[in-house]
C-alpha cells in the first residue's frame, strides 16, 4: 500500500458550476475514499413557511434552482392541491407537462455542454448551448421567463398558450431533432469522449438500489424507474417508457440523458396534439390542512416536495428532497477506486445541482 494523501477538491473548481467540496484520500493516483461536504450556500428556503403563506411559497419553490425551477413549482403546487383536494383543469396539466419537458431539454443540453467543457471539447460545448438557447427562447415566448418561468399556481397555471403557438413550438422542437442527433452521435460515438467515459465510475444495479439513487444515475445502472410513470400532470396520457442503460458507467449516464432528449421531444409533440380546450386554473379557497409528499421527475431524478398544513394560511412544514441530495451517497461510492484525473468528469456525471440541494 502506498502512502496516503488527502487532496481537497472544491468547493471552487473549474469543473464545478456550484460549490461542493470533496476530501479525496489518494493512494498514488487512485482515490480510495471521498468525503463530501455541502452546506456552503444553504439558504433555509424551507423556513420561509413561517413568514410566507402557502400561495406565496410558489414563488419560493420556483426560485430553489435556476435549472429545474418550473418542476419545483409544479411539485409544490401538486402537493398543496392534493392536501386541499383541488382538481386542476385538464388544459393546465397539459401545459405543465409541455413546460416540464422543455425544462428537461434545457437542463440536459446544459449538462451535455458542461460535460463537453470538462472534457476539453469546446466546440461540442458550444453546439450544446446553441441548441439550449433555442429551447430557452421557446420558454420565453410561452411564459415570458427564460429560466424562472413563474407560471405555476395552486389550482392551475397563470398563462394560457394558444393552440397554434403550441403546435408551432412542437414543430420547432421536432426540427431540432436533426441537430440533436448530430450532437448525440458525437457524445455516444466519438472515441475521445468514449475514452473518458466508458468503464469509468461504474455503479452496479445493486449499489444503485442500495444507495437510493434516482434519475439518470439510477436508470444508467439498469433500474427502470421514472417518477413520471406515476401519471402526474398529463403523463398518464402520453406514451413513453423509462430510458434505461445497463453498464452503470459514466458513458451510460451520459447515454441516458442523450436518449431522454428525444423522449422529451416525443412527449411534447403528444401533449401539444392532445391538449384539450378549457380553463387553465380554478379558484382555490380555504387553507391547507393535512399532509402530502408530492413527487415529480426532475431532469436529475425524483424530487419530493412534502407539505404539512394545520388549516391556517401558513404551512407547518415544507420540505424539499432534491435528486442531487439523493445521489451524493452514490457519488461517494463511484469515486472509490477511480483515478484522480477522472474525478471532475465523474462528479459531473451525477449532474450535481447544488442550489437545489442546499435549498
Amino acid at each position: 500500500m502506498g502512502s496516503r494523501t488527502v487532496i481537497p477538491f472544491g468547493p471552487q473548481h473549474p469543473a464545478l458550476p456550484e460549490p461542493i467540496h470533496l476530501d479525496l484520500v489518494l493512494e498514488d493516483e487512485k482515490v480510495v475514499e471521498a468525503i463530501p461536504k455541502i452546506g456552503f450556500v444553504h439558504r433555509g428556503f424551507e423556513k420561509l413557511v413561517e413568514k410566507m403563506d402557502f400561495n406565496e411559497l410558489v414563488y419560493v419553490a420556483d426560485r430553489i434552482c435556476g435549472i429545474c425551477a418550473f418542476i419545483h413549482s409544479m411539485a409544490y403546487c401538486q402537493a398543496v392541491e392534493a392536501v386541499m383536494n383541488v382538481e386542476v383543469p385538464p388544459r393546465a396539466v397539459f401545459l405543465r407537462t409541455v413546460w416540464s419537458e422543455l425544462a428537461r431539454l434545457s437542463s440536459h443540453l446544459l449538462w451535455l455542454g458542461f460535460m463537453a467543457d470538462v472534457m476539453g471539447f469546446e466546440s461540442l460545448f458550444m453546439q450544446s448551448f446553441r441548441l439550449r438557447e433555442k429551447i430557452v427562447d421557446m420558454l420565453e415566448e410561452m411564459t415570458g421567463g427564460r429560466i424562472i418561468l413563474g407560471v405555476c399556481r395552486v389550482g392551475g397555471v397563470r398563462r394560457d398558450v394558444a393552440n397554434d403557438t403550441l403546435a408551432g413550438i412542437a414543430g420547432r422542437v421536432k426540427d431540432l431533432v436533426r441537430d440533436m442527433r448530430r450532437l448525440a452521435d458525437v457524445f455516444l460515438q466519438d472515441d475521445s469522449v468514449k475514452h473518458r467515459l466508458v468503464d469509468v465510475g461504474v455503479l452496479t444495479r445493486e449499489q444503485a438500489a442500495d444507495l437510493g439513487c434516482v434519475g439518470p444515475v439510477m436508470r444508467a445502472s439498469g433500474i427502470s424507474r421514472d417518477t413520471r410513470t406515476l401519471g402526474y400532470a398529463a403523463y398518464g396520457f402520453v406514451d413513453f417508457s423509462p430510458v434505461v442503460e445497463t453498464s452503470g458507467d459514466s458513458y451510460a449516464r451520459c447515454a441516458v440523458r442523450v436518449r431522454e432528449l428525444f423522449q422529451s421531444v416525443g412527449i411534447i409533440e403528444q401533449a401539444a396534439s392532445k391538449i384539450p380546450a378549457g380553463e387553465v386554473s380554478v379558484k382555490v379557497s380555504g387553507y391547507p390542512e393535512g399532509e402530502y409528499h408530492s413527487r415529480c421527475e426532475q431532469p436529475r431524478g425524483e424530487v419530493v416536495h412534502y407539505v404539512k398544513g394545520d388549516g391556517t394560511r401558513y404551512l407547518q412544514r415544507y420540505r424539499v428532497r432534491t435528486p442531487t441530495f439523493a445521489n451524493i451517497p452514490a457519488l461517494v461510492k463511484m469515486l472509490q477506486g477511480c483515478e484522480l484525473a477522472d474525478v471532475p468528469v465523474l462528479v459531473l456525471t451525477i449532474d450535481p445541482c447544488i442550489s437545489c440541494t442546499e435549498r
Binding site: 468525503i35 461536504k37 455541502i38 452546506g39 444553504h42 433555509g44 423556513k47 392541491e81 392534493a82 383541488v86 382538481e87 386542476v88 385538464p90 396539466v93 397539459f94 438500489a209 442500495d210 444507495l211 437510493g212 433500474i223 424507474r225 410513470t229 406515476l230 401519471g231 402526474y232 398529463a234 398518464g236 396520457f237 402520453v238 406514451d239 392532445k274 384539450p276 402530502y292 409528499h293 413527487r295 425524483e302 419530493v304 412534502y306 404539512k308 407547518q316 412544514r317 420540505r319 428532497r321 441530495f325 439523493a326 451524493i328 451517497p329 452514490a330
Partner: protein, 150 residues
Amino acid sequence: MGDDIKAGPKPGDPSLNPRERQVLEEIPAAALLERVQQMRAEGWRLVHIACTRLVADQEVSYCFDRDGQSLESPDAATLHGMRTLRVRLPIHDAELPSISPFYWGAFLYENEMHDLFGITVKGMALDFQGHLYTTMVPTPYVTKEPEHGE
C-alpha cells in the same frame, strides 16, 4: 396505462389529478431500528427523512417507496405507494439511533436532522459533527430567533 387513457382526457377523468396513496405508521422511537430493518428486508427504498416542529414536540418521518409497486398489489406497476414511519420526539434533547446500518445513504438526512432540528443521531455512517450546514442560529427550527436588538 390503457389505450383509452392514451386517447386523451375526458372531463372529470380521474387520471388527470392522480393522488398517491400514502400510508402513515406511527411507531415509538424504541421500535425504529427493528421496523426499518424489516422495511429493508422487504425491499423498500428510503425516499427521504423529514422533521417537523410541532407546538409541543417534533416528529421525524421516514418515507419509503417500493419501486413502483402498489401497496395493495405488488404486481400493479403503475401505482406507486409510499409508506411513512413516524416517531415523535421532545423538542429539546431528542435522540435517535442512526438507520445507516440498513440505509447507508441516510447520513445526509441524519446530519441535517442534527444541524437544523437539534436531534442527536447515534452511529451515523458519516458524522459531520454539526458542520453540514452553517446557520446563523444553531438548530434554527427548534431555537427561537433573537429579535432585532437582542
